[in-house]
């Protein structure tokens, strides 16, 4: 049986014929859709390098079977930039040296995007650290990462207020 899936990946509708139900979302993205941003680090849900958003929530793509995602909306790091403009979280990672070798970075950035959207961490570095605890950086860039998340969060909140022209809801 070849399961057929419909998925939205980075805003684009995709029809996918899966020849094997064992394919994880990570292998689907990397090997079949050519989206190699999400990385295969530990392949067992511990490092977070494969973090992507499924229906707006961050998941470890290595622990998610693609076959279960019929109808899902998937966002990877490749889908963040708009035209030539980087996403504010991407800009903040560059500005704050939120990486060294870069291997964990796509996962860190996707996790940060979700954390900011969840709107739970506030301005508290300790809660940002807790909220980013699913993403390990073996270069030890965590200080820069926390600074980047804080900065991106402030910028995005500011932008949202600017756009709405009044105080009010925070950007999702």
């Amino acid at each position: 049986m070849t399961p057929r899936l419909t998925m939205t990946v980075n805003g684009k509708a995709r029809e996918i014929a899966l020849d094997d139900p064992r394919v994880t979302l990570l292998d689907l993205l990397r090997d079949r859709l050519g989206l190699t941003g999400a990385k295969k680090g530990c392949d067992r849900g511990q490092c977070g390098a494969c973090t992507v958003l499924v229906d707006g929530r961050r998941v470890n793509a290595c622990l998610t079977l693609a076959v279960g995602l019929d109808g899902a909306d998937v966002l990877t790091v490749e889908g963040l930039a708009q035209g030539g403009a980087l996403h504010p979280v991407q800009e903040a990672f560059i500005a704050h040296d939120g990486f060294q070798c870069g291997f964990c970075t796509p996962g860190q950035i996707m996790s940060a995007v979700a954390l900011i959207a969840e709107g739970e961490a506030g301005d508290d570095p300790e809660r940002i650290r807790e909220g980013m605890s699913g993403n390990l950086c073996r270069c030890g860039a965590h200080r820069g990462i926390v600074d980047a998340v804080l900065d991106a969060q402030r910028r995005m909140a500011g932008d949202a207020q600017g756009r709405m022209g009044k105080d009010g809801e925070r950007a999702a």
């Binding site: 049986m1 973090t51 998941v59 699913g134």
Partner: protein, 264 residues
């Protein structure tokens, strides 16, 4: 992973039927099962996906109990207003399982079916004296857990939910294994209408257990000081690994019990 078929039933009845096939196995969040299959430690003929069954997802907070349906994620329990109001200790426990990515996929049914000796939910289920609901019966927590990775579940039996009685007070205190966030030792202490219960996870080679001496001491005096006067439970039968020796874990049981009572 060895090859398997994938089945996506729309009802519990269909899932039970699919699970009657030889070596068919449920999959929920896959946070435990997928790594196991990747290591080729299992060879199911089919994986039966429980997460698409509408009846298995959701939370019902009543006046004297909270029902968490089987395929409800840890993140959903952590964020549920009704759970936070009725059993804040349970919401906090769910909020500290693993990390956000794991909580977005992992489910209560998968956790209690797996019964990892260091998992968090078993402590709450036993500590609150909850009832495990399945497709065919209701099982009291005291009868459900039967040693590490062992439960009262029969072949092909599905956990459809867990019903937690609302306690007067309760809390979970976990000493984390810093990499995985599993419990090096975790204690759920609860003051219920029917008495006090103290359940310990992460410590014993027999899996989650109740610490009777602490329950007795806390029943007459619900305070960390009441625990202070007790001897730590025997180190015999406690887990020893690179993270901690048996006597260290026995000591942690006492410390975490005090912290749970103080936090409740």
């Amino acid at each position: 992973m060895y090859a398997f078929d994938y089945v996506k039933p729309a009802s519990v009845a269909d899932a039970v039927k699919a699970l009657s096939a030889e070596d068919a196995q449920p999959i929920s969040g896959g946070q435990t099962l997928i790594p196991t299959l990747k290591q080729r430690l299992g060879q199911p003929s089919a994986l039966v996906d429980l997460t698409k069954i509408a009846d298995l997802v959701g939370i019902e907070a009543g006046s004297d109990s909270v029902l968490v349906k089987g395929a409800t994620t840890h993140a959903a329990v952590a964020a549920h207003e009704g759970v936070m109001q009725a059993i804040p200790g349970l919401a906090k426990l769910a909020a500290h399982i693993g990390d956000p990515q794991v909580r977005n996929r992992g489910t209560i049914g998968g956790s209690v079916a797996n019964n990892d000796p260091a998992a968090c939910y078993p402590a709450a289920v036993l500590g609150l004296g909850a009832t495990v609901l399945t497709d065919r019966r209701e099982i009291a927590a005291d009868d459900y857990f039967q040693g590490m990775f062992t439960t009262a579940l029969e072949e092909g039996e599905i956990v459809t939910g867990v019903r937690f009685p609302i306690p007067e007070k309760s809390a979970y205190a976990k000493f984390v294994q810093p990499a995985s966030r599993f419990a090096l030792t975790g204690v759920y202490a609860a003051k219920l209408k029917g008495g006090v219960r103290v359940a310990v996870t992460g410590a014993s080679e027999s899996g989650v257990f109740r610490w009777a001496e602490a329950e007795a001491a806390l029943a007459s005096n619900w305070s960390p000081e009441a625990v202070e006067t007790l001897a730590a439970p025997a180190a015999d039968g406690m887990i020893g690994d690179i993270h901690g020796a048996p006597d260290y874990r026995a000591h942690l049981v006492k410390v975490m019990t005090k912290r749970a009572v103080a936090a409740a």
